[in-house]
């Protein structure tokens, strides 16, 4: 970690695979995990004579994202060819955007330890992904290599942040907030394991108080939140140790090796290119009509920050709970659906989500949350049964466990299993009488002023009722009977 001496400066480049049905410049499907080269055509294989055609949905998604981050959407943008030789890239150039990107200058508000921080976003552009190369051993010495072009031509949206991040945790928080916005917009599934979200980081150190930026190092291949943070932590340590020894930082590209938990320098051969950018002559400039852009703005759903605020105001949630829910579109949707069915106790519902539901599913796993065995309507039903005194909180946990396995709603389970709590003063009264009769010591303690003794009696009654007694009523009866006896 940077100690007091240095300030860490980080900027992130995030590549998000857009959740379109077809690829960026051809009609091939975009599903994950298909057999090698089964989702390809002459266009994404770079055959002689083929031409690209822009996927309008990808443009829509990119424009929505740009608007969500407050970026200025350029009325016209252009694609450009970026050249370098690598066999995973069938044309040996990538269609990307260079001098005229789709959108520029916006920001993302990220919650850090010191509250909200505004992180600048410099630009957003569209490009195509490359294929995947599988070689035995190193690039230079491999005896054979195979190429899978399924990923070739997948639509990618690259977003470049300003160097406004000040720590590895900051960077991870930015990426989380960024992902939450993309998922909320529905433009990316946010799945880092499958490579839907990939990240390169630029990191430099400078003496605290300095205004000039230090020499930056680019780290590639960061494919999980954990890796982003760990790679940056390693790199900050490495750079500060070097600076301490009076060494100069070399401007270079480093690769993060997750197994070793370290970054290593890439040989210059692997990245030193003159990309020879020039405007893609096979595509006309992309002109975006104002009215169309406004249509896209109108299609933007509630975003995580707004949702968090609403949760605080409308549901009376503490900000921490509101943030936790708003980070995940699926979780926030779950919460909203449950509250829609039972609006009287949103806090109670959220407590059940943050404690019991999140014990069962990972908050970051949108799919798992969406497919959770207990639908939000049923969770709402459970909370309602507690609130109207039908079951106790303790019984409710058992009911929740049964709902998980059977998929039934709470009322059905409670009714069949006879779990309705005892709220009959007569029946409860006799249980209380029995407890008082069987515990003279507790009664004596109570009379002597030890009010806590009443709790022991309540516990006895609850136990005797098999947990079904209404705890509030038992409490009242015990107090009454003790003061009368």
């Amino acid at each position: 970690m940077a100690d007091g001496k240095y300030e860490t400066v980080i900027g992130l480049e995030v590549h998000a695979q857009l959740a379109t049905r077809s690829k960026m410049f051809c009609g091939c499907p975009t599903g994950f995990g298909a057999p090698p080269n089964s989702q390809t055509c002459p266009i994404c294989q770079g055959m002689p004579g083929v031409l690209p055609v822009v996927n309008r949905t990808a443009v829509e998604y990119a424009v929505r994202t740009a608007l969500a981050f407050g970026l200025r959407v350029n009325p016209a943008c252009r694609f450009a060819r970026k050249h370098y030789y690598y066999p995973d890239m069938p044309k040996n150039y990538q269609i990307s955007q260079y001098e005229e990107p789709l959108a520029e200058e916006g920001a993302l508000d990220v919650e850090g330890p010191d509250g909200l921080r505004r992180i600048g976003i410099q630009r957003l552009h569209l490009e195509e992904d490359v294929g995947k190369l599988v070689h035995e051993g190193d690039f230079g010495t491999a005896q054979s290599s195979l190429v899978d072009y399924n990923r070739s031509g997948m639509p990618l949206m690259e977003t470049v942040s300003r160097p406004d991040l000040r720590s590895p945790e900051d960077a991870a928080a930015y990426l989380r907030a960024f992902r939450a916005v993309l998922v909320a917009l529905g433009v990316c599934d946010g799945n880092m394991e499958e490579g839907s979200l990939r990240c390169d980081a630029n990191v430099s150190l400078r003496p605290r108080g300095a205004t000039e930026l230090g020499v930056k190092v680019e780290i590639k291949n960061l494919n999980s939140f954990r890796n982003v943070q760990r790679a940056l932590e390693f790199e900050v340590k490495r750079q500060s140790a070097a600076l301490d020894k009076g060494e100069r930082i070399v401007q270079e590209t480093r690769l993060y090796d997750a197994d070793r938990g370290a970054t290593r320098s890439m040989r210059s051969k692997e990245y030193a290119h003159d990309y020879r950018y020039f405007p893609e002559p096979d595509l006309v400039p992309l002109k975006l009509d104002r009215a169309w852009i406004e249509q896209q703005r109108a299609a933007i759903p509630e975003l995580p920050r707004a949702r968090r605020e609403r949760f605080v105001v409308q549901y009376g949630l503490p900000p921490s709970d509101a943030s936790l829910l708003a980070q995940s579109r699926a979780l926030a949707d779950y919460c909203d659906r449950a509250v829609r069915v039972y609006a009287q106790n949103p806090k109670g519902i959220v407590n059940w989500i943050t404690s019991e539901v999140l014990r069962e599913v990972d908050a970051a796993d949108e799919v798992a949350v969406t497919n959770f065995q207990i639908p939000p309507e049923n969770l709402a039903g459970l909370v309602k049964l507690i609130d109207d005194g039908t079951i106790s909180g303790k019984i409710a946990k058992d009911v929740f466990a049964r709902m998980l396995t059977s998929g039934e709603d709470a009322a059905t389970i409670v009714k069949r299993e006879g779990l309705t709590q005892m709220a009959d003063p007569g029946a409860l009264g006799s249980l209380v009488d029995q407890a008082i009769a069987g515990n003279p010591k507790a009664v004596a303690d109570f009379k002597a002023g030890k009010t806590a003794a009443a709790k022991a009696l309540v516990g006895q009654v609850m136990k005797a009722s098999g947990g079904k007694a209404n705890p509030a009523m038992v409490d009242r009866l015990v107090q009454e009977k003790l003061s009368r006896s």
Binding site: M47, P48, G49, L51, Y85, P87
Partner: protein, 481 residues
């Protein structure tokens, strides 16, 4: 030697049979193409199958249109599904495309009988077809001379009666110049008029699909059948396609013809100068008005073209690396394999242009070369726009010289200068046509070039047709024996 419209009219009347005609052409190719060298691949079986299908349609009185059964040759730059397509290069010697170019699909849909694939300068880079990796093509008017290029095989096939019509590509003059050299009609329509999908790219912003025919009616037919928007080509123009044959009224009354001074200067063969001026007089006699105009940026055309075209070519040809298709020469590692493959697979002219283009796009040079060239292109376009405020078409020579001998232009620069009159219309994307306008003393054909307004192919065809009908040139054919 019959035109496409004569043949298909005869098919419709039952006076000729598509199968018999296809067999005639195939026999002629078998007998004479050893002399001419127009074809790289002859698709005999496919052609006969297509001819039989056409014949059945005529019998059923349901032909697909005026191209049904027409025997046509395609430059080997168009991808043909299942048929070897080389672009004249060793690097694609064995390449068999898995798809048809849009132009091929449209011709097939119109019933055309594709006889085979014609020779060309490698990746369309050249003006003589001498840069083909495979063979020389000879000019049917004089076998010691080049047919022009890069669509030399297509022009020689049409002139030599080895196909009734053909499609080539014109990037800097690659259809108009061979048309002039071989005494046939060659038309480069407006950029984007015919889809480029499936055309093996040389220079994307300059490549045009262009027909070569024996007369203007055939050009109108081929253009009409293939023009129009293609969703697979983002640069294709989404504009209605007029009935080009109906536009051939035979009259040029009131047509304003501009004659640009800059096209009649130093370097122009005096015999061509004379023939073209006589042709312009003929247009005046037919009722057109003629006036002098100036296109001052003409002198920058060749230099600008030789920045833009190689720059785009260096990018377009990057995909030929031995990894996916075509030639592969093994190496000690990947980079070595790519280097060896490209060294063995590309000819000298292609290498020269790839290097030129790579240099022009390099960091630090981009703005001075490619950037500047694009700015000059805008100025050239403005010159033409200004001229077209006063005139409807421009009349110029197609080439500064007639067909030269094989090996005569060994100096690349001398070869490049042959495109001086055709390059401006390529750079501006304006439609332009070359029509035969006479012969020099040695009996070699001369071409008149007419350049028109964007998307106004109809006016161009009308003027060329009126001229053709008033002159004997299109009826003269070389004798190949």
């Amino acid at each position: 030697m019959r035109t496409i419209h004569e043949l298909t009219t005869a098919f419709a009347k039952g006076d000729a049979s598509p199968v018999a005609v296809a067999e005639e052409y195939l026999a002629r190719i078998g007998a004479l193409d050893a002399k001419v060298g127009a074809y790289l691949t002859v698709t005999r079986d496919e052609a006969l199958a297509a001819a039989r299908a056409a014949e059945a349609r005529y019998r059923a009185r349901a032909p697909l249109g005026p191209l049904d059964g027409a025997p046509i040759a395609l430059k080997d730059v168009f991808c043909t599904r299942g048929v070897r397509t080389t672009s004249g290069s060793r690097i694609l010697d064995t390449y068999v495309p898995p798809y048809d170019a849009t132009i091929v699909a449209r011709l097939k849909a119109a019933g055309a009988v594709i006889l085979g694939k014609t020779n060309m300068d490698e990746f369309a880079m050249g003006s003589s077809t001498e840069h083909s990796a495979f063979q020389l093509t000879r000019n049917p008017w004089d076998l010691a001379r080049v047919p022009g290029g890069s669509s030399g095989g297509s022009a020689a096939a049409v002139a030599g009666g080895l196909a009734a019509g053909s499609f080539g590509t014109d990037t800097g003059g690659s259809v108009r110049q061979p048309a002039a050299f071989c005494g046939v009609v060659g038309m480069k329509p407006t950029y984007g008029r015919i889809s480029r999908y499936g055309l093996i790219a040389f220079a994307s912003s300059l490549d045009h699909v262009a027909p070569l025919t024996l007369d203007i009616v055939d050009t109108a037919l081929l253009l009409g059948a293939t023009a129009g928007h293609d969703p697979l080509d983002a640069t294709s123009v989404d504009a209605p396609v007029p009935d080009y044959v109906a536009a051939l009224t035979g009259s040029v009354k009131g047509l304003r013809v501009g004659v640009p001074d800059e096209y009649f200067g130093e370097g122009l063969d005096p015999e061509i100068d004379r023939a073209v001026r006589v042709a312009i007089d003929r247009l005046r006699d037919l009722g057109a008005s003629v006036e002098r105009v100036s296109l001052p940026t003409t002198e920058y055309g060749v230099a600008t073209y030789y920045i833009v075209a190689p720059a785009e070519a260096s990018s377009n040809l990057a995909r030929y690396d031995g990894v996916k298709y075509g030639l592969r020469v093994p190496g000690k590692d990947l980079i070595d394999m790519v280097s060896r493959t490209r060294a063995a697979g590309f000819g000298a002219e292609v290498k020269r242009r790839v290097m030129l283009g790579t240099y022009a796009l390099s960091t630090g040079y981009y703005d001075a070369y490619y950037g500047q060239a694009q700015r000059v292109r805008t100025l050239v376009r403005r010159d033409f726009e200004k001229a077209f405020e006063r005139v409807d078409v421009l009349a110029t020579p197609t080439t500064p010289s007639v067909a030269f001998k094989h090996g005569e232009k060994a100096d690349p620069l001398a070869m490049y200068m042959n495109d001086v009159y055709t390059i401006p219309a390529s750079m501006t994307g304006l439609p332009a046509i070359s029509v035969p306008c006479g012969f020099n003393a040695a009996g070699l054909p001369i071409g008149l070039q007419l350049i028109g307004r964007t998307l106004d192919e109809a006016t161009l065809l009308r003027a060329a047709h009126a001229y053709e009908q008033a002159t004997p040139w299109h009826a003269k054919r070389p004798s190949l024996g």
